[in-house]
């Protein structure tokens, strides 16, 4: 029995039909984890009592309780979402012992829907990075090539799926942190519209960009997950009140008549590697075969998306991360005994030792850009360009229903390659940050492998709240054979 690439919905159906129990499914994935985790390091830690919870779900299902189409399915949660009483580390020394006194809304909804949390997945520290190398707990490896990065910041989430360690995974996406690792690991990943899923309990990196998003092998599993997590939360002022569509029911609409835009500045970008460009072209042809028409779209501010993002995000982050001062929770280290103010010395020492270099770099950048005399030139300017980028999208969506393009300029790169060159690392986000700046939904869909055997992927983007359109197009591509869900087997030991 291979459950790794079985759709989570199919797995739930079997559990519902009592062909196998949630306990058995959970045991299956836990034993996969036991075999594989040593090579991949996808998790910061495993959740306590997963089997007990699976057993409870089994007995509730047995008693006839209707939970959800995904009840009983083992799921992994990125360690940036608060799980009550269980550690939530954000991949940081700062929170290595932190146990939240409350539950993230998105996670609570999954638990209420009967999903079984098996563990918390590894990530770049505070979700800042694109390689999961900045985690205090050590890097995650790409199951397709353990010398390479799984991407980031939700590297653990994507790798846990690619290595067959869970059936579903939840990540977060601030500038591509769901889509880029999904692309590097050959799985599907959705960044919903800003505000579609509650951010309550999602430890903030950049509040106006952060969004929770699901990863899975199958597009329909993303839809099922969205049906559970999406919706208004009165504890998040930025969550949307719009009605949640029946995402599953909306799958299967033919693509005939769909207008798909290709952003010229993206497919012609110098940094785009040929095999990724080929994947986009291949997908384009497939969409045409499915009845869609293709239009070329101009995106005048494409080049400014990354610089804009690397001002907006660090500015918000510098403030969001001010709460880590060694006082109410988190890492504390006393400063020099001779300090004029032992309090200030403690705060500075705790922050300096509790945060890793990338986090400190971004705090410094954000603090600088917000400081007196620089605000207008940097932060305000970025907010203005952000509007221009958003207007590029609005203009595009007057002509087309979806945008097709690459997720990343390259496939997964070797670990360590970009660690010493922040700007190179940042440029890897050039196709993903736009959706975050504009608050729009976007999906990463696997599109085969390179000649070296590394996954490649394409990105679809849609207007706000059009997740159904995205999911349907991705589902049609899946059905048409753009990709076949598969897991990487661990290297022989």
């Amino acid at each position: 029995m291979n459950l790794c690439t079985l759709s989570a919905l199919e797995l739930a159906t079997r559990i519902q039909a009592r062909e196998l129990s949630s306990v058995e499914a959970t045991q299956y994935f836990l034993s996969r984890i036991a075999e594989t985790e040593q090579h991949i390091h996808a998790f910061t830690h495993l959740a306590e009592g997963a089997l007990d919870r699976a057993e409870q779900i089994d007995s509730r299902l047995k008693s006839g309780e209707q939970l959800s189409p995904l009840a009983g399915v083992p799921i992994a949660i990125k360690d940036v979402l608060c799980t009550i009483g269980d550690r939530t580390t954000c991949g940081s020394r700062m929170l290595s012992e932190y146990r939240p006194p409350y539950m993230a809304t998105a996670v609570q909804k999954l638990v209420d829907a009967g999903l079984v949390i098996v563990g918390k997945t590894n990530m770049d520290e505070f979700a800042m990075g694109g390689s999961t190398e900045s985690s205090y707990l050590g890097p995650t490896r790409n199951p397709w090539d353990v010398q390479r990065t799984p991407g980031g910041s939700s590297g653990g989430a994507a790798a846990s799926l690619a290595a067959g360690m869970c059936s579903l995974s939840i990540g977060s996406d601030t500038g591509g942190s769901v889509r880029q690792p999904a692309a590097f690991c050959g799985v599907c990943g959705l960044k919903p519209t800003y505000g579609r899923i509650s951010r309550y309990g999602l430890v903030a990196f950049a509040s106006s960009l952060d969004q929770v998003g699901p990863l899975a092998h199958h597009v329909q599993d993303l839809a099922a997950c969205m049906a559970i997590m999406a919706g208004h939360d009165n504890r998040d002022s930025t969550s949307l009140a719009a009605e949640v569509p029946d995402y599953l029911a909306e799958l299967g609409r033919p693509l005939k008549g769909l207008k798909v835009g290709i952003i010229r500045e993206q497919v012609e970008h110098a940094a785009l590697e040929a095999e990724v460009r080929d994947a986009v072209s291949h997908t384009q042809r497939m969409l045409e075969e499915l009845g869609a028409s293709i239009l070329e779209i101009d995106f005048p501010h494409q080049e400014y998306a990354v610089p804009t993002y690397y001002l907006v995000a660090p500015c918000e982050a510098s403030s969001n991360l001010s709460r880590y001062d060694g006082v109410h929770y988190g890492y504390r280290e006393l400063g020099d005994a001779s300090a004029e103010s032992p309090l200030d010395a403690m705060i500075s020492r705790s922050r300096s030792r509790g945060f890793g270099p990338e986090v400190k770099r971004r705090i410094m950048l954000g603090t600088f850009a917000l400081s007196a005399g620089y605000y207008d030139a940097y932060y305000k300017k970025a907010l203005q360009v952000r509007r221009l980028i958003t207007q590029d999208y609005h203009r595009a969506f007057q002509d087309v229903d979806l945008l097709l393009g690459p997720v990343t300029p390259t496939p997964a790169y070797p670990l360590g390659e970009k660690l010493d060159d922040p700007v190179q690392m940042y440029l890897g986000d050039l196709f993903t940050v736009g959706a975050n700046l504009a608050g729009l939904p976007a999906i990463s869909v696997p599109a085969g492998f390179t000649s070296e055997g590394l996954p490649v992927a394409v990105q679809l983007q849609a207007p706000a709240l059009e997740e159904s359109r995205l999911l349907n197009a991705a589902f049609q591509l899946q059905q048409a054979g753009l990709f076949t869900p598969q897991v990487a087997e661990p290297p022989a030991t």
Binding site: G195, Y310, L311, S318, V327, S341, P342, L343, S348, Q384
Partner: protein, 102 residues
């Protein structure tokens, strides 16, 4: 713009981060590069463009003035690096040294 080690020191102090001299030097190089990178935005004419702090056009989200259950004190203090039965504890604002000199 080029950021000097003095600039970095000032920003670090605002951000409550401390760096060794060596770190300061490497940070000023790195941050100068990053700042030069984001200064690409200067190419864009943004005259009259309204700032966009929020991605979506939502406003006036208000809640009723009604009590909601909070946390127990035990739970509130649970993660604190230092606390007594009632409060969070922090080192004194002013140390022995500065007091002696007053």
């Amino acid at each position: 713009m080029e950021l000097s080690t003095d600039d970095i020191r000032k920003v670090a102090s605002l951000a409550r981060l401390e760096f060794s001299e060596q770190e300061l030097a490497s940070f000023s190089t790195q941050l100068s590069r990053i700042v030069a990178f984001v200064e690409k935005l200067n190419e864009v004419d943004t005259a009259g463009v309204e700032e966009m702090a929020h991605p979506l056009d939502v406003h006036s989200v208000l809640r009723a003035d009604e009590l909601q259950p909070g946390l127990s004190r035990e739970s509130a203090l649970h993660n604190a690096p230092s606390h007594d039965d009632e409060c969070f504890l922090v080192p004194p604002v002013l140390g022995q040294k500065s007091h002696g000199s007053r």
